[in-house]
Amino acid sequence: MMGQATEKYVAEVLALQGVMSSEDAAKAIAPALSAQLATAAGAYASLPFESEPSGFAAVVAREKA
């Protein structure tokens, strides 16, 4: 069910952006996208997020200080 929902989401979100994607493409994209999002959810748990991105140069400056 989750797989079908993700396929529907992929097909609709692409259509909303004016990109014509076949059902096959949505089927192909959905599992990889779901897996990536699930992995991210687990992996991100180990560190805090910044409230807003500081940008690479600011991060390096902070790291050097």
């Binding site: 989401y9 992929v10 979100v13 692409l14 952006q17 004016g18 990109v19 014509m20 994607s21 493409a25 192909a28 994209i29 990889a32 996208l33 990536q36 999002l37 992995t39 991210a40 992996a43 991100y44 180990s46 560190l47 805090p48 997020f49 910044e50 409230s51 807003e52 991105p53 500081s54 690479f56 140069a57 600011a58 991060v59 390096v60 902070r62 790291e63 050097k64």
Partner: protein, 470 residues
């Protein structure tokens, strides 16, 4: 003479031209002969500009005879990945979409190599829009690995890796957004430098992901990479992300001692899925580094899988945004594989992209605290697995394709996300005759130190001198 010239490294051939032991035309002829000989086997070049390059070489020889020298690379012929724009010349970017429209500007990296005296004699094949890790290109043909043409070169700088390994160019520019310099360097047995984010201007280079893109060289040694970095590094008004950080004397610092430096060996993440042959080569490389007087220090790394996935999200979303208009108007002109990758980016929720940006600072801080508080340089494999074949990595060619593609990049992409410099260099060969690559990772803007350790390693070993039989 031509064969001898061809076997030299970039620094060596530049010295030969400088001392007038070889002319620019002789050096160019040697490289052109080699490029034409290997092209049918490797498909590394998309275009060879023979007449233009020879005209330039003659002019530079005339200047040499008048004791005029343009710079440290005077008369050295180079070919580059076909994504560095030159005014008046089309750049395919490995795609059908870019077409024959001449570019309006010249990339800053090319301008700086021109100013150093290099002669560009051609452009090299690459993954379509630099968005693929294997070296496949469905528009211009796949690039073949010089060590075994049935195997992939790695991508996206596939032609750069193959041409440099085959001695058909002394060096080549590549780009590294998620391993795209280091992967072909590792799989083709050459040396590749992924610089700190912002070390080299990206103006006039095709963008893939502005948060992750870096430009750098593939060459035959760390010393050759140092010479090219010295020519290109520094601020650029045309690229606001190009850093004003001081540019050290990269070549001069190569000879500084490495004795007493602390080299870290990961206890986690980089130990996962490692093939025994790859692991054995890495172990031997550590022994060689230890014999140089370096101290080997085991280190536990913070969460690396998160850095890898966050990097993947940044690339996916930014590449999809850049390609949005073409995806709407010319979807049929992409190969199905690259189009599917880009479409995946369109479906990524905006909140996940922003999370990937917000995680970057804490991730870099955690990494530097865990690693660079204890060691000067981190040593790790470039990838855990032996080089796959072209057939194995063709989409649809194998049920395990997604896992194989993940294994190709999982050890390198985290350093794009963290923005850190990393030098890939050959450290052995498998029983199959294919090379194994290791990477040395440094602090932000610590290219001089990883080049120094790489140079010392290459003075003590001979892996980088091996040439494929073609």
């Amino acid at each position: 003479m031509a064969g001898e010239l061809n076997a030299l490294g970039l620094v060596e051939v530049a010295a030969k031209i400088r001392s007038r032991d070889a002319s620019c035309v002789e050096v160019l002829d040697a490289v052109l002969a080699r490029a034409k000989a290997v092209q049918p086997k490797l498909n590394a070049f998309l275009r060879i500009d023979e007449d233009l390059a020879r005209e330039q070489a003659k002019l530079y020889d005339a200047e040499t005879s008048k004791r005029r020298r343009r710079g440290p690379l005077h008369g050295v012929p180079l070919a580059h990945k076909d994504m560095y724009y030159r005014e008046g010349v089309p750049s395919s970017c490995g795609s059908k979409i870019k077409g024959d429209e001449p570019e309006k500007t010249t990339a800053t990296a090319l301008k700086r190599l021109d100013a150093a005296g290099a002669i560009q004699f051609g452009v090299l094949n690459m993954a379509e829009f630099a968005y693929g890790p294997t070296g496949h290109n469905w528009h211009f043909g796949h690039v073949r690995n010089p060590w075994n043409p049935a195997h992939i070169t790695g991508g996206s700088s596939s032609g750069s890796g193959a041409a440099v390994a085959a001695r058909a160019s002394f060096a080549a520019l590549g780009s590294d957004t998620g391993a795209s310099i280091r992967l072909p360097a590792a799989l083709c047995g050459v040396t590749g430098l992924k610089v700190t984010y912002g070390r080299i201007s990206r103006a006039g280079a095709m963008p893939l992901s502005f948060s992750m893109d870096t430009i750098g060289p593939l060459a035959r040694s760390a010393a050759d990479c140092a010479a090219l970095l010295a020519a290109m590094a520094g601020p650029d008004p045309a690229d606001p992300t190009a850093s004003g950080e001081a540019v050290p004397d990269y070549l001069g610092r190569l000879a500084l001692p490495v004795k007493g430096l602390r080299v870290g060996v990961p206890l986690n993440y980089f130990t996962e899925d490692v093939d025994p042959g790859v692991g054995a080569a890495l172990t031997e490389s550590l022994k060689a580094i230890e014999s140089l007087g370096c101290e080997i220090v085991p280190v536990t790394l913070p969460e690396m899988a998160a850095a890898d996935i966050a990097g993947a999200h940044l690339i996916a979303a930014e590449a999809a945004a850049y390609h949005g208009e073409w995806l709407r108007t010319r979807p049929q002109d992409y190969s199905p594989q690259v189009r599917a990758r880009l479409e995946r980016g369109l479906a990524l929720p905006a909140t996940k992209y922003i999370d990937a940006l917000r995680y970057r600072g804490p991730a870099l801080e955690a990494f530097t605290k865990a690693v660079f508080a204890k060691v000067d340089v981190l040593h790790a494999p470039c990838l855990p697995i032996p080089t796959p074949t072209i057939a194995e990595t063709d989409i649809g060619g194998s049920p395990a394709i997604d896992r194989t593609l993940m294994l190709l990049t999982k050890f390198m992409r985290p350093f794009n996300y963290l923005g850190l410099p990393s030098l890939a260099l050959p450290c052995g060969f498998l029983a199959s005759g294919l090379p194994v690559g290791m990477q040395l990772v440094g602090r932000p803007f610590g290219e001089d130190l990883i080049l120094r350790v790489g140079h010392a390693f290459q003075r003590a070993t001979e892996w980088h001198r091996r040439e494929p039989t073609l």
